[in-house]
Symmetry: C2
């Protein structure tokens, strides 16, 4: 993109973004975008950046995957609030080595996922990066204030439920790193069950599916007392949700819905668990009062996502992991800035 | 910040940000922020990143300056729409070399400018950067839809006015690059007029003052038919505003309010003009119908900012620069991606 010029790149973005919905009064090309607020709702705002060398490796993900992922991580944050996305802004730091085809692929991935979630790309920024490619996305959505899902609000005795599976994204990355043919034959499902599980895990890593519909349905049904997403893994999410609610938690190791591809990695048991608990799966963790269990399962059924009861919130105290042999302290989640 | 941990950094941000205003229902620490929309207005959204090695050099700007600038460039975009800022999100890419003191300084600069413009920092993201420091800010504000200032809307015969001076930021940067004592004795005003002018230019480069009050006052008074900010220089702004309005423009070289520090650089006349026209001064360019000239001057007086008539929009055609000797084609503005 080095010699393309900002206006030429903006034209390529416009061609992909298409016509905005009516509530967007002005998009792309002025100093800022103008958007009509949704009625009787509050705005919900989140921003999240993915950086080459930290969150992705261009040898293991296609430009389209990178664009998808950059938006998905933000949509997941909105899902965790029970909010519906409306508009997105995309800020890119472009290294000189990025080609026009890669630039187009990145926006194809972004725009396809945006279209799937009725999210209008209304603005953004392009700049050169003398270092890594970075994609910083801001998403603004809406929620009826009393339907918002917060991290705080869980009560002792509330069950903990997680959507989908955990560990798949980390297992997918591990498989990509092991296989040299990573990008040439990426997610082609093989014929054996193991090959299909590996392909599923790679897909979960490359193109995570944010649980937007599940989040909004659970918010509307008021089935959850607290919620957050698994952007830093289930280990981090349980610890954060319990801390925000001022409580402890117990999680049953045997109840964790670990993605089958994790077991194909042949890890030692403690490494298997660490991988599953630190995997950035973009699933949702809910605290659910006993009386609301049926409402949660109904919302999950409507969203066509499995939910699994993995434990419960307890009175103020530590977070513990319970297995057949022992109770042990909760393994710390992936921490961005630890050495 | 390498060993600080995300939660410790978040605590340092919280201590600086302070208590949010009542319209902010939830800020900092959940998956997303929740903000009540302003009544009878539309949301105005913009995002802009500044990147080390592209937009700033850590040898020439303090962390506080960098934080100030990252927010200022976004506030300037809102000013150019006639919108009032309400909330900001801050996404940071932090190299390992950044110290905790520098991190704190960056947020001090951000928070001081945010407080000066009643802008609440409600969310953001922290990530490691394996390359340059980058600071990506999103600002959301509000405007009554019919008061919004767009780039398009100018009519042939409308006068072009620019606020403040041009060239100061570029002259300030040039002075910083010439002086080795740049950061040690930065903007201390000297005793001579020349020293004071240089110090003024350095301040304009390091801590640009976004024209938020001028923009909102002009929007409310409906004095301008079109507006944009000078983020890429006046050269770019005149060309863009004329193009968005489908018109040509004439600018009088002798009318340009060039910052006095530009002339202290002793440049050849053509270089002097190029520098002044490509300087990122974050002033505002307005197209003003004849009947609205008085309203514009009244708004400028109320905002305590000078405005200068530099030319006019003309029927569809080229943009030309008129000097005593000749008419010549408009010099191209600074282009991000040109080689």
């Amino acid at each position: 993109v080095r010699n393309a010029g900002e206006h030429a790149l903006l034209a390529r973005i416009r061609a992909r973004v298409g016509r905005p919905p009516d509530f967007v009064r002005l998009a792309l090309g002025d100093d800022a975008a103008i958007v009509e607020p949704a009625r009787n709702t509050a705005d919900v705002l989140t921003t999240d950046a993915i950086v080459e060398g930290v969150h992705f490796d261009r040898a293991l993900m296609s430009p389209r995957d990178i664009g998808h992922r950059a938006l998905a991580v933000n949509l997941s944050d909105l899902a965790a609030m029970g909010a519906s996305p409306r508009v997105a802004l995309v800020s890119l730091g472009l290294p000189d080595s990025l080609t026009i085809d890669e630039f187009d692929g990145l926006f194809d991935g972004l725009c396809d996922l945006a279209a799937a979630h009725a999210t209008a790309i209304v603005g953004g920024n392009l700049t050169r990066s003398p270092g890594p490619l970075f994609v910083d996305v801001t998403v603004v959505g809406s929620v009826r204030p009393r339907r918002a899902l917060l991290r705080r609000g869980g009560r002792a005795g509330d069950a903990l439920f997680v959507s989908g599976t955990i560990g798949g994204a980390a297992a997918g990355l591990a498989w990509l790193r092991r296989e040299e043919t990573a990008l040439t034959a990426p997610a082609a499902p093989g014929t054996t069950a193991a090959e299909q599980e590996r392909a599923s895990a790679v897909t979960r890593y490359r193109t995570p599916a944010p649980r937007v519909r599940l989040g909004t349905l659970v918010g509307r049904s008021r089935a959850a007392s607290a919620c957050m997403d698994l952007s830093d893994g289930l280990g981090d999410a349980v610890a954060q949700l319990a801390a925000a609610s001022g409580l402890g938690a117990r999680v049953e190791a045997s109840a964790l819905p670990v993605h089958p591809a994790v077991d194909l990695l042949d890890l030692a048991p403690e490494h298997r668990l660490t991988l599953a608990l630190s995997s950035d799966d973009y699933e949702l963790l809910f605290a659910v009062p006993r009386r609301a269990t049926r409402a949660l399962r109904a919302a999950a059924g409507q969203a066509r996502v499995d939910v699994t009861r993995i434990g419960e919130l307890t009175r103020p105290g530590p977070v513990v992991l319970v297995s057949a042999e022992s109770e042990c302290p909760w393994p710390a989640g992936f921490a961005h800035f630890s050495p």
